[in-house]
Amino acid sequence: MGPSNDCNAQRTNHLMNKPLIATILILVLCAPLQTLQAELPAPELSHGLTRLQPPVTAPGFSLADMDGEQHTLDDYRGKVIMLNLWATWCPPCRREIPSMESIFQDLGDRGFVVLAVNQFETPDHVFAYMGQLSVYPTFPVLFDRDSKVSELYGVKGLPTTLLINRQGQVVYRAIGGRDFDHPRVRAIVNELLTENGTPVTTLTNVQ
Protein backbone atom coordinates (compact mmCIF):
# COMPACT_ATOMS: atom_id res chain seq x y z
CA MET A 1 0.00 0.00 0.00
CA GLY A 2 1.33 3.39 -0.87
CA PRO A 3 0.06 6.12 1.40
CA SER A 4 -0.93 9.08 -0.71
CA ASN A 5 -0.90 11.54 2.15
CA ASP A 6 2.01 11.61 4.49
CA CYS A 7 0.79 14.47 6.61
CA ASN A 8 3.12 17.20 5.49
CA ALA A 9 6.21 15.22 4.64
CA GLN A 10 8.28 18.33 3.93
CA ARG A 11 7.58 19.73 7.35
CA THR A 12 8.60 16.39 8.79
CA ASN A 13 12.02 16.46 7.10
CA HIS A 14 12.68 19.96 8.31
CA LEU A 15 11.98 19.01 11.89
CA MET A 16 14.01 15.82 11.95
CA ASN A 17 16.77 17.45 13.99
CA LYS A 18 14.31 18.07 16.78
CA PRO A 19 12.83 14.62 17.15
CA LEU A 20 10.72 15.19 20.22
CA ILE A 21 9.08 18.36 18.92
CA ALA A 22 8.63 16.77 15.53
CA THR A 23 7.04 13.68 17.00
CA ILE A 24 4.60 15.67 19.12
CA LEU A 25 3.72 17.93 16.22
CA ILE A 26 3.17 15.07 13.83
CA LEU A 27 1.04 13.15 16.28
CA VAL A 28 -1.09 16.23 16.84
CA LEU A 29 -1.28 17.15 13.15
CA CYS A 30 -2.13 13.68 11.98
CA ALA A 31 -4.71 13.25 14.75
CA PRO A 32 -4.96 9.49 14.38
CA LEU A 33 -7.80 7.37 15.68
CA GLN A 34 -9.79 10.25 17.03
CA THR A 35 -13.08 8.96 18.37
CA LEU A 36 -15.91 11.29 19.14
CA GLN A 37 -19.42 10.72 20.38
CA ALA A 38 -21.88 12.98 18.63
CA GLU A 39 -25.07 12.94 16.66
CA LEU A 40 -24.60 12.01 13.02
CA PRO A 41 -25.01 15.05 10.80
CA ALA A 42 -26.82 14.65 7.47
CA PRO A 43 -24.26 14.67 4.64
CA GLU A 44 -23.99 18.11 3.10
CA LEU A 45 -25.17 18.31 -0.50
CA SER A 46 -22.34 19.33 -2.78
CA HIS A 47 -22.74 21.21 -6.05
CA GLY A 48 -19.98 19.90 -8.31
CA LEU A 49 -20.87 18.49 -11.71
CA THR A 50 -18.49 16.42 -13.82
CA ARG A 51 -18.09 17.45 -17.45
CA LEU A 52 -18.15 14.44 -19.75
CA GLN A 53 -15.46 14.54 -22.37
CA PRO A 54 -16.34 13.70 -25.01
CA PRO A 55 -20.08 14.25 -24.60
CA VAL A 56 -22.30 11.22 -25.16
CA THR A 57 -25.43 11.18 -27.30
CA ALA A 58 -28.40 10.87 -24.96
CA PRO A 59 -30.28 7.61 -25.58
CA GLY A 60 -33.96 8.19 -26.29
CA PHE A 61 -36.80 6.83 -24.22
CA SER A 62 -40.54 6.93 -23.77
CA LEU A 63 -41.88 6.87 -20.22
CA ALA A 64 -45.27 7.49 -18.61
CA ASP A 65 -45.84 10.24 -16.06
CA MET A 66 -48.09 10.18 -12.99
CA ASP A 67 -51.19 10.49 -15.20
CA GLY A 68 -50.11 7.81 -17.63
CA GLU A 69 -49.17 10.31 -20.33
CA GLN A 70 -46.13 9.30 -22.37
CA HIS A 71 -43.08 11.55 -22.53
CA THR A 72 -40.25 10.92 -24.99
CA LEU A 73 -36.84 12.52 -24.86
CA ASP A 74 -37.54 13.85 -28.33
CA ASP A 75 -40.47 15.84 -26.88
CA TYR A 76 -37.84 18.00 -25.20
CA ARG A 77 -35.49 18.25 -28.15
CA GLY A 78 -33.74 21.62 -28.26
CA LYS A 79 -34.10 22.20 -24.52
CA VAL A 80 -31.49 21.83 -21.81
CA ILE A 81 -32.60 18.79 -19.80
CA MET A 82 -31.76 17.87 -16.24
CA LEU A 83 -32.39 14.11 -16.14
CA ASN A 84 -32.60 13.02 -12.52
CA LEU A 85 -32.84 9.32 -11.60
CA TRP A 86 -34.28 8.83 -8.14
CA ALA A 87 -36.46 6.82 -5.74
CA THR A 88 -38.58 7.71 -2.73
CA TRP A 89 -36.56 5.60 -0.25
CA CYS A 90 -33.38 7.51 -1.09
CA PRO A 91 -32.77 10.38 1.42
CA PRO A 92 -30.51 12.54 -0.78
CA CYS A 93 -33.06 12.22 -3.61
CA ARG A 94 -35.63 13.77 -1.32
CA ARG A 95 -33.27 16.51 -0.21
CA GLU A 96 -32.36 17.67 -3.70
CA ILE A 97 -35.94 17.95 -5.01
CA PRO A 98 -36.52 21.52 -3.68
CA SER A 99 -33.36 22.74 -5.41
CA MET A 100 -34.46 21.13 -8.68
CA GLU A 101 -37.86 22.79 -8.38
CA SER A 102 -36.25 26.15 -7.68
CA ILE A 103 -33.97 26.11 -10.72
CA PHE A 104 -36.82 24.78 -12.88
CA GLN A 105 -39.09 27.62 -11.74
CA ASP A 106 -36.45 30.21 -12.57
CA LEU A 107 -35.14 28.87 -15.88
CA GLY A 108 -38.09 26.84 -17.19
CA ASP A 109 -39.27 29.59 -19.51
CA ARG A 110 -35.82 29.86 -21.08
CA GLY A 111 -35.77 26.30 -22.41
CA PHE A 112 -34.73 24.35 -19.34
CA VAL A 113 -36.61 21.31 -18.09
CA VAL A 114 -36.20 18.81 -15.26
CA LEU A 115 -37.26 15.21 -15.86
CA ALA A 116 -37.33 13.21 -12.62
CA VAL A 117 -37.20 9.55 -13.59
CA ASN A 118 -38.33 7.37 -10.71
CA GLN A 119 -36.84 3.90 -10.44
CA PHE A 120 -38.81 0.75 -9.82
CA GLU A 121 -41.76 2.28 -7.93
CA THR A 122 -45.45 2.69 -8.62
CA PRO A 123 -47.27 5.97 -9.38
CA ASP A 124 -49.51 5.39 -6.33
CA HIS A 125 -46.53 5.06 -4.02
CA VAL A 126 -44.81 8.12 -5.48
CA PHE A 127 -48.01 10.18 -5.40
CA ALA A 128 -48.39 9.53 -1.67
CA TYR A 129 -44.74 10.42 -1.15
CA MET A 130 -45.04 13.67 -3.10
CA GLY A 131 -47.79 14.78 -0.77
CA GLN A 132 -45.33 14.70 2.13
CA LEU A 133 -42.77 16.98 0.49
CA SER A 134 -42.40 20.59 1.58
CA VAL A 135 -42.06 21.60 -2.07
CA TYR A 136 -44.32 19.86 -4.58
CA PRO A 137 -42.48 19.40 -7.87
CA THR A 138 -44.07 20.96 -10.95
CA PHE A 139 -41.63 19.30 -13.38
CA PRO A 140 -42.52 15.96 -15.00
CA VAL A 141 -42.06 12.86 -12.84
CA LEU A 142 -41.66 9.80 -15.05
CA PHE A 143 -41.69 6.09 -14.23
CA ASP A 144 -38.88 3.77 -15.26
CA ARG A 145 -40.53 0.71 -13.72
CA ASP A 146 -38.00 -1.81 -15.06
CA SER A 147 -34.96 0.50 -14.85
CA LYS A 148 -34.31 0.16 -18.59
CA VAL A 149 -33.61 3.86 -18.95
CA SER A 150 -31.15 3.88 -16.06
CA GLU A 151 -29.38 0.93 -17.68
CA LEU A 152 -29.21 2.79 -20.98
CA TYR A 153 -27.50 5.66 -19.22
CA GLY A 154 -25.15 3.38 -17.26
CA VAL A 155 -26.46 4.52 -13.89
CA LYS A 156 -25.37 2.41 -10.90
CA GLY A 157 -26.53 4.38 -7.88
CA LEU A 158 -29.25 6.84 -6.89
CA PRO A 159 -29.54 9.69 -7.18
CA THR A 160 -27.69 10.28 -10.42
CA THR A 161 -28.28 13.42 -12.46
CA LEU A 162 -27.32 14.13 -16.05
CA LEU A 163 -27.38 17.40 -17.93
CA ILE A 164 -28.28 17.11 -21.60
CA ASN A 165 -27.52 20.06 -23.87
CA ARG A 166 -29.71 21.48 -26.62
CA GLN A 167 -27.93 19.22 -29.10
CA GLY A 168 -29.08 16.10 -27.26
CA GLN A 169 -25.73 15.25 -25.72
CA VAL A 170 -25.07 14.28 -22.11
CA VAL A 171 -22.51 16.87 -21.07
CA TYR A 172 -22.48 16.78 -17.24
CA ARG A 173 -23.01 14.11 -14.61
CA ALA A 174 -23.44 14.04 -10.83
CA ILE A 175 -23.51 10.87 -8.73
CA GLY A 176 -25.07 11.47 -5.31
CA GLY A 177 -27.24 14.30 -4.00
CA ARG A 178 -26.57 17.87 -5.08
CA ASP A 179 -27.79 21.37 -4.38
CA PHE A 180 -28.91 22.31 -7.87
CA ASP A 181 -29.86 25.79 -6.75
CA HIS A 182 -26.19 26.59 -6.15
CA PRO A 183 -24.81 29.51 -8.23
CA ARG A 184 -22.22 27.23 -9.88
CA VAL A 185 -24.88 24.83 -11.12
CA ARG A 186 -27.00 27.74 -12.32
CA ALA A 187 -23.97 29.12 -14.16
CA ILE A 188 -23.48 25.79 -15.95
CA VAL A 189 -27.16 25.58 -16.93
CA ASN A 190 -27.12 29.20 -18.09
CA GLU A 191 -24.06 28.47 -20.20
CA LEU A 192 -25.82 25.51 -21.81
CA LEU A 193 -28.92 27.61 -22.43
CA THR A 194 -26.92 30.21 -24.31
CA GLU A 195 -25.07 27.67 -26.45
CA ASN A 196 -26.10 27.53 -30.06
CA GLY A 197 -26.43 24.36 -32.01
CA THR A 198 -28.78 22.24 -33.99
CA PRO A 199 -30.61 19.67 -31.90
CA VAL A 200 -29.87 16.10 -32.90
CA THR A 201 -32.48 13.39 -33.02
CA THR A 202 -31.92 10.76 -30.36
CA LEU A 203 -30.62 7.47 -31.67
CA THR A 204 -32.63 4.87 -29.84
CA ASN A 205 -35.91 4.76 -28.05
CA VAL A 206 -36.90 2.57 -25.16
CA GLN A 207 -40.51 2.07 -24.25
Binding site: M1, G2, P3, S4, N5, D6, C7, T12, M16, N17, P19, L20, A22, T23, I26, L27, C30, A31, P32, L33, Q34, T35, L36, Q37, A38, E39, L40, P43, S46, H47, G48, L49, T50, A87, W89, C90, P91, P92, Q119, F120, S147, K156, G157, L158, R173, A174, I175, G176, G177, R178
Partner: protein
Protein backbone atom coordinates in the same frame (compact mmCIF):
# COMPACT_ATOMS: atom_id res chain seq x y z
CA UNK B 1 28.02 2.67 18.47
CA UNK B 2 28.78 6.38 18.82
CA UNK B 3 27.02 6.89 15.55
CA UNK B 4 23.98 5.07 16.90
CA UNK B 5 23.94 7.13 20.11
CA UNK B 6 24.39 10.37 18.18
CA UNK B 7 21.55 9.54 15.83
CA UNK B 8 19.31 7.53 18.11
CA UNK B 9 17.01 10.52 18.56
CA UNK B 10 16.58 10.82 14.83
CA UNK B 11 16.03 7.09 14.44
CA UNK B 12 13.39 7.17 17.16
CA UNK B 13 11.75 10.10 15.47
CA UNK B 14 11.72 8.27 12.14
CA UNK B 15 10.14 5.22 13.74
CA UNK B 16 7.53 7.29 15.54
CA UNK B 17 6.80 9.34 12.46
CA UNK B 18 6.41 6.22 10.34
CA UNK B 19 4.04 4.76 12.90
CA UNK B 20 2.08 7.99 13.11
CA UNK B 21 1.89 8.21 9.32
CA UNK B 22 0.69 4.65 9.02
CA UNK B 23 -1.82 5.04 11.82
CA UNK B 24 -3.23 8.23 10.38
CA UNK B 25 -3.56 6.76 6.90
CA UNK B 26 -4.24 3.07 7.40
CA UNK B 27 -6.67 3.48 10.23
CA UNK B 28 -7.81 7.02 9.45
CA UNK B 29 -9.75 9.14 11.87
CA UNK B 30 -12.71 7.01 12.86
CA UNK B 31 -15.54 8.95 14.41
CA UNK B 32 -18.37 7.23 16.20
CA UNK B 33 -21.79 8.82 16.27
CA UNK B 34 -24.76 7.82 18.39
CA UNK B 35 -28.24 8.83 17.38
CA UNK B 36 -29.85 10.48 20.40
CA UNK B 37 -33.31 9.20 19.58
CA UNK B 38 -32.68 5.62 18.55
CA UNK B 39 -29.34 4.93 20.24
CA UNK B 40 -28.10 3.46 16.97
CA UNK B 41 -24.41 3.86 16.22
CA UNK B 42 -22.62 4.88 13.05
CA UNK B 43 -18.94 4.98 12.22
CA UNK B 44 -17.20 7.30 9.82
CA UNK B 45 -13.65 6.74 8.55
CA UNK B 46 -12.11 9.91 7.20
CA UNK B 47 -9.13 9.51 4.90
CA UNK B 48 -7.54 12.23 2.78
CA UNK B 49 -10.14 12.84 0.05
CA UNK B 50 -12.20 9.77 0.89
CA UNK B 51 -14.75 8.94 3.55
CA UNK B 52 -16.68 5.79 4.33
CA UNK B 53 -19.58 5.58 6.74
CA UNK B 54 -21.37 2.57 8.21
CA UNK B 55 -24.73 3.22 9.87
CA UNK B 56 -26.48 0.58 11.98
CA UNK B 57 -29.96 -0.35 10.78
CA UNK B 58 -32.43 -2.03 13.07
CA UNK B 59 -33.98 -5.35 12.00
CA UNK B 60 -37.38 -3.62 12.33
CA UNK B 61 -36.28 -1.01 9.80
CA UNK B 62 -35.14 -3.75 7.42
CA UNK B 63 -38.49 -5.49 7.95
CA UNK B 64 -40.29 -2.27 7.02
CA UNK B 65 -38.19 -1.70 3.89
CA UNK B 66 -38.58 -5.22 2.53
CA UNK B 67 -42.14 -5.58 3.79
CA UNK B 68 -43.16 -2.46 1.86
CA UNK B 69 -42.29 -4.27 -1.35
CA UNK B 70 -44.95 -6.87 -0.71
CA UNK B 71 -42.50 -9.71 -0.12
CA UNK B 72 -43.75 -12.81 1.73
CA UNK B 73 -43.39 -12.68 5.51
CA UNK B 74 -40.79 -15.46 5.62
CA UNK B 75 -38.62 -13.56 3.16
CA UNK B 76 -38.99 -10.35 5.15
CA UNK B 77 -37.94 -12.20 8.30
CA UNK B 78 -34.95 -13.69 6.51
CA UNK B 79 -33.82 -10.21 5.47
CA UNK B 80 -34.35 -8.83 8.99
CA UNK B 81 -32.13 -11.61 10.32
CA UNK B 82 -29.12 -10.28 8.43
CA UNK B 83 -26.76 -7.61 9.69
CA UNK B 84 -27.55 -4.58 7.54
CA UNK B 85 -25.78 -1.23 7.49
CA UNK B 86 -26.50 1.93 5.57
CA UNK B 87 -23.24 2.73 3.81
CA UNK B 88 -22.15 6.12 2.48
CA UNK B 89 -19.04 6.49 0.32
CA UNK B 90 -17.79 9.92 -0.68
CA UNK B 91 -15.12 11.19 -3.01
CA UNK B 92 -13.92 14.34 -1.29
CA UNK B 93 -10.85 14.69 -3.49
CA UNK B 94 -10.37 16.44 -6.81
CA UNK B 95 -9.42 13.16 -8.49
CA UNK B 96 -11.21 10.10 -9.75
CA UNK B 97 -11.80 7.59 -6.96
CA UNK B 98 -13.09 4.04 -7.18
CA UNK B 99 -14.06 1.10 -5.01
CA UNK B 100 -15.01 -2.57 -5.46
CA UNK B 101 -16.98 -4.26 -2.72
CA UNK B 102 -15.38 -7.54 -3.85
CA UNK B 103 -12.09 -6.23 -2.42
CA UNK B 104 -13.52 -5.79 1.08
CA UNK B 105 -13.25 -8.37 3.88
CA UNK B 106 -14.56 -8.70 7.38
CA UNK B 107 -13.09 -10.62 10.29
CA UNK B 108 -15.22 -12.42 12.85
CA UNK B 109 -14.25 -13.05 16.49
CA UNK B 110 -12.65 -16.38 15.57
CA UNK B 111 -10.16 -14.50 13.38
CA UNK B 112 -11.64 -15.86 10.15
CA UNK B 113 -11.64 -13.58 7.11
CA UNK B 114 -14.78 -13.43 4.98
CA UNK B 115 -15.33 -11.57 1.72
CA UNK B 116 -18.13 -8.99 1.82
CA UNK B 117 -20.85 -10.25 -0.51
CA UNK B 118 -21.56 -7.93 -3.40
CA UNK B 119 -24.97 -6.74 -4.50
CA UNK B 120 -24.78 -9.02 -7.54
CA UNK B 121 -24.02 -12.04 -5.33
CA UNK B 122 -26.89 -11.25 -2.94
CA UNK B 123 -29.39 -10.67 -5.74
CA UNK B 124 -28.38 -13.95 -7.35
CA UNK B 125 -28.94 -15.71 -4.02
CA UNK B 126 -32.28 -13.99 -3.53
CA UNK B 127 -33.65 -14.10 -7.07
CA UNK B 128 -35.80 -17.18 -6.45
CA UNK B 129 -37.44 -15.38 -3.51
CA UNK B 130 -38.47 -12.44 -5.67
CA UNK B 131 -36.09 -9.97 -4.06
CA UNK B 132 -34.90 -7.55 -6.73
CA UNK B 133 -33.54 -4.65 -4.74
CA UNK B 134 -31.06 -3.47 -7.29
CA UNK B 135 -31.20 0.16 -6.21
CA UNK B 136 -31.18 0.05 -2.44
CA UNK B 137 -28.08 -2.14 -2.13
CA UNK B 138 -24.63 -0.56 -2.36
CA UNK B 139 -23.41 -0.85 -5.98
CA UNK B 140 -20.71 -3.51 -6.51
CA UNK B 141 -18.26 -0.96 -7.78
CA UNK B 142 -18.20 2.66 -8.83
CA UNK B 143 -15.89 5.29 -10.24
CA UNK B 144 -16.48 8.69 -8.68
CA UNK B 145 -15.51 12.05 -10.06
CA UNK B 146 -14.85 14.96 -7.71
CA UNK B 147 -17.83 15.52 -5.41
CA UNK B 148 -19.58 12.26 -6.29
CA UNK B 149 -20.90 10.01 -3.55
CA UNK B 150 -23.16 7.05 -3.12
CA UNK B 151 -25.10 5.17 -0.53
CA UNK B 152 -26.81 1.83 -0.13
CA UNK B 153 -27.29 -1.18 2.11
CA UNK B 154 -24.35 -3.40 2.97
CA UNK B 155 -25.60 -6.81 4.08
CA UNK B 156 -23.58 -9.31 6.09
CA UNK B 157 -24.71 -12.79 7.21
CA UNK B 158 -24.09 -12.02 10.89
CA UNK B 159 -26.40 -12.18 13.91
CA UNK B 160 -27.73 -9.01 15.62
CA UNK B 161 -25.15 -7.46 17.95
CA UNK B 162 -22.15 -9.23 16.35
CA UNK B 163 -18.86 -7.35 16.61
CA UNK B 164 -16.42 -7.62 13.73
CA UNK B 165 -13.51 -5.91 11.99
CA UNK B 166 -13.82 -4.66 8.42
CA UNK B 167 -11.02 -4.10 5.93
CA UNK B 168 -11.97 -1.92 2.97
CA UNK B 169 -10.11 -0.80 -0.10
CA UNK B 170 -10.34 2.00 -2.62
CA UNK B 171 -8.30 3.48 -5.46
CA UNK B 172 -7.30 7.08 -5.81
CA UNK B 173 -4.91 8.63 -8.33
CA UNK B 174 -4.10 5.16 -9.63
CA UNK B 175 -3.05 3.87 -6.20
CA UNK B 176 -4.78 1.26 -4.11
CA UNK B 177 -5.41 2.13 -0.47
CA UNK B 178 -6.64 0.09 2.47
CA UNK B 179 -8.42 1.05 5.64
CA UNK B 180 -9.88 -0.72 8.66
CA UNK B 181 -12.81 -0.34 10.96
CA UNK B 182 -11.44 -2.15 13.99
CA UNK B 183 -14.78 -2.61 15.70
CA UNK B 184 -18.10 -2.46 13.92
CA UNK B 185 -21.20 -3.87 15.52
CA UNK B 186 -24.41 -5.10 13.93
CA UNK B 187 -27.51 -3.43 15.36
CA UNK B 188 -29.17 -5.21 18.24
CA UNK B 189 -32.46 -6.96 17.67
CA UNK B 190 -34.28 -4.06 19.27
CA UNK B 191 -33.52 -0.36 19.50
CA UNK B 192 -31.31 0.38 22.56
CA UNK B 193 -33.97 2.80 23.83
CA UNK B 194 -36.72 0.16 23.88
Amino acid sequence: MNYFIRHSGNILAVLLLSAAGCVSYCFAAVETFTDETSGLISWKAQHPGFSLQFIQLLPDYVRAVYGARGLPQEVVELMAGYCVFGTIIKNESADVLGYRVADWHYFTADGQSHPVKTKTQWLKEWQDMGVAFRWSLLPDEQQFSAGDWSQGFTTLPLAPGTIFKLNYQWTQQGKTHNGTFERLQCAADKSPDE
